[in-house]
């Protein structure tokens, strides 16, 4: 199975939770990502045509 994963670091934490299907079916807004690592890609648009799993992460 080929699936491209994209970890996003890091994320603001908040004491609330959300059922996240509100954006399903809509086009992903421009993520404005920079400083890509682990890939020759330089923008999110470079992943056009691929199935992408974006995971927001943080560490502490």
């Amino acid at each position: 199975m080929k699936i491209t994963s994209l970890l996003l670091a890091p994320v603001v934490l908040a004491a609330t939770a959300l059922v996240g299907e509100a954006q399903v079916g809509e086009q992903l807004p421009d993520p404005g990502l920079v400083d890509f690592g682990g890939t020759p890609a330089t923008s999110y648009a470079d992943y056009t045509g691929r199935l992408v799993l974006i995971e927001f992460f943080a560490f502490w």
């Binding site: 199975m1 080929k2 699936i3 491209t4 994963s5 994209l6 970890l7 996003l8 670091a9 890091p10 994320v11 603001v12 934490l13 908040a14 004491a15 609330t16 939770a17 959300l18 059922v19 996240g20 299907e21 509100a22 954006q23 399903v24 079916g25 809509e26 086009q27 992903l28 807004p29 993520p31 404005g32 990502l33 920079v34 400083d35 890509f36 690592g37 682990g38 890939t39 020759p40 890609a41 330089t42 923008s43 999110y44 648009a45 470079d46 992943y47 056009t48 045509g49 691929r50 199935l51 992408v52 799993l53 974006i54 995971e55 927001f56 992460f57 943080a58 560490f59 502490w60």
Partner: protein, 243 residues
Amino acid sequence: MTGEHDSEGIRNTEAWIESKGARYAYAYYDGTAFPSAMGVSGIPHAVLVSPDGTVMWAGHPASIPMEAIERGLAGAITKPIFEWDDAVSKVADALRRKELGKALIEAKKLAEKGVADSDVALATVERMVEGAVKSVESALEEGNYLDAWTAAERWAKQLKGLDSADRLESVIETCKNDPEAKRVIAGQKKLRALLGKKLKKKREADSLMDKIRELAEEYDGTYVSVEASRAIEQVRSIYESLR
């Protein structure tokens, strides 16, 4: 963490990637616009994006539906465009702008000239066009009329004049005029209007689940009930973290 895209944040992230041996692509964003737009208010949180840039699913990474992954992979390209030869950069650029129609015309021209990677580019664009249309048709077949209609409208504009556009117009006609499709679309809109709101308390989650169940019952046997089941799973996955 805020102000995360600074030298310390980058240093810490790079060290983490190194220490964990992570083989994922990763990137940074500044501010909170992107996570806010994606409904991220805590982690873990993941978003599955289809090859055409549509958000297919969002939620706890442990509950990604396999059927969404399989559906997305069906239309995905195998060689990323950032690995293509510069000779086909116009095709790559059109794809980056999600202009499938223009990409197809340009790829055909370059393939006739036989430039480097033009065969890959043409095959990719043709696959993406077919993938986009098939994805719309699959959504229609499974009764997901709302997403089928939205995507069909978007692609039909881009592919105007091409054979694929006729298939998309057929989907649009069904979604607009079929009584069952209209009923399900209304239900999907009602359900999605309930979602995307921040939950702080368990009683809010209980109330939300009751409303979702009511909709699932009202639209039993349709795609609304499928979406409702997923939504309830998501609420359950975060329930214990609520007050």
